[in-house]
Symmetry: C2
Subunit: 242 residues, 2 copies
């Protein structure tokens, strides 16, 4: 087996750290899993043994890798990780989509992935330049939810639009023309929610792609955190009539 | 003037880092401000000069403190900070409250503060053991929103309840008995929303304090991020009828 290098966004493999995320990866993308890394202090615990059993069934090789676990997690108590091959998936054209443009913070993207799975947005596009979606710390912030998504990285929003023309598109902007609840009440399917960069938001041209949406909020804050704004939007679109 | 020490939660002063948070502090708690710290590279920029002007009007002493700014922000491009005296405020008994019990992550608390101000929950209780609310990184995650809140730290939820007995209380729990939209539609004022620790949530005893509320979500995630859950709750309570 090749030596495991420190995580590199150019490599074709990444690390899934922690028990809960590892189970999510095994549930959703078992074919991508290459190796199980274990810490001696975790052996015998119920969670680790369950993971070992699932890997054994799949024929995934296990190995003691305390040093690699510590290096990748930057913690002493990370007891298990999976090495897996990076993948690209196609988005379902019949499903609602969430699109994240030029997200710079990995924690925000991971947190938004969690909410996306939680509220049934299983198809997620990420537009460059953006944080590396396979960075172990993004995956960890998602608590493994990333693996349950059809996620695809696009070089531009135009590339996404070329693949999915004529969808109902809702760009979220601080000065959007329609308040969230109205937009959610009137939305059809399949629709696409679009969110911009943490600092800059979406450029003005996005107004031409669909009716822009605002989340009503006090002008005593500059804006909401991006993951918070996206999560409120996804919750409301799925629950406004519930 | 005394030497500025590295931030210490036991000290009676803290640091407010960055222009936007500094303006929020000057807007809301000008009497707490003690010193303005400046970086030579920031002099002449519009934002910094505006801050200097406001401090001069208030008689706040300014000083060059490049080293302190770098140390506290861990960044090279933090151009201004305010040193301020820590304070405790009383919560408004007539207003709706948000209570955060045993929050361990400062980023979560700061992010939730931003949403709390954004959605009009201006009275916030924090129950120990919890992250230090005056930690500069919590204040920064709030983008200064913390300063716009009436925030108070309690040793226990019982201490909070003793001060505010017989309020309508909505504890948020993964297996809460009422879905969020129904709880929000039926809520009176003043009410109290209660959120628990990131990993453990609220203990079962909180069911006896009021009707527990759940945010409907797929069982394919372990839970939502805490700041996300609290923000969705606050948004929905304030906007369900809008």
């Amino acid at each position: 087996m090749p030596k495991l290098e420190p995580y590199d966004k150019r490599a074709d493999y990444s690390y899934c750290l922690g028990l809960y995320p590892c189970h999510a990866l095994l549930d959703s993308r078992p074919g991508a899993v290459q190796r199980l890394l274990l810490h001696p202090d975790g052996l015998g615990s119920e969670g680790v043994e369950k993971l070992r059993g699932r890997c054994a069934e799949l024929g995934v090789r296990e190995e003691m890798a305390e040093r690699v676990l510590k290096r990748e997690s930057k913690k002493d108590n990370c007891f298990a990780a999976l090495v897996f091959e990076k993948y690209q998936l196609a988005l379902d054209p019949e499903a609602d989509h969430a699109v994240f443009c030029q997200i710079s913070d990995g924690g925000n993207l991971g947190t938004a992935c969690r909410a996306a799975v939680g509220f049934g947005y299983r198809n997620l596009a990420v537009v460059r330049p953006c944080v590396d979606v396979f960075d172990p710390h993004v995956l960890r912030a998602s608590m493994g939810a990333f693996f349950r998504l059809n996620a695809r990285v696009y070089d531009s929003f135009d590339e996404y639009r070329a693949e999915f023309p004529e969808r109902e598109t809702c760009p979220f902007m601080l000065d959007g023309s329609v308040p969230l609840n109205d937009a959610a009440r009137n939305a059809g399917h399949p629709h696409t929610l679009v969110f911009g960069n943490e600092a800059a938001g979406l450029p003005a041209v996005f107004r031409t792609y669909g009716q822009s949406v605002r989340i009503p909020q006090s002008d005593e804050i500059d804006s909401l955190n991006l993951a918070v704004a996206a999560s409120i939007a996804m919750y409301t679109f799925k629950n406004i009539n519930g």
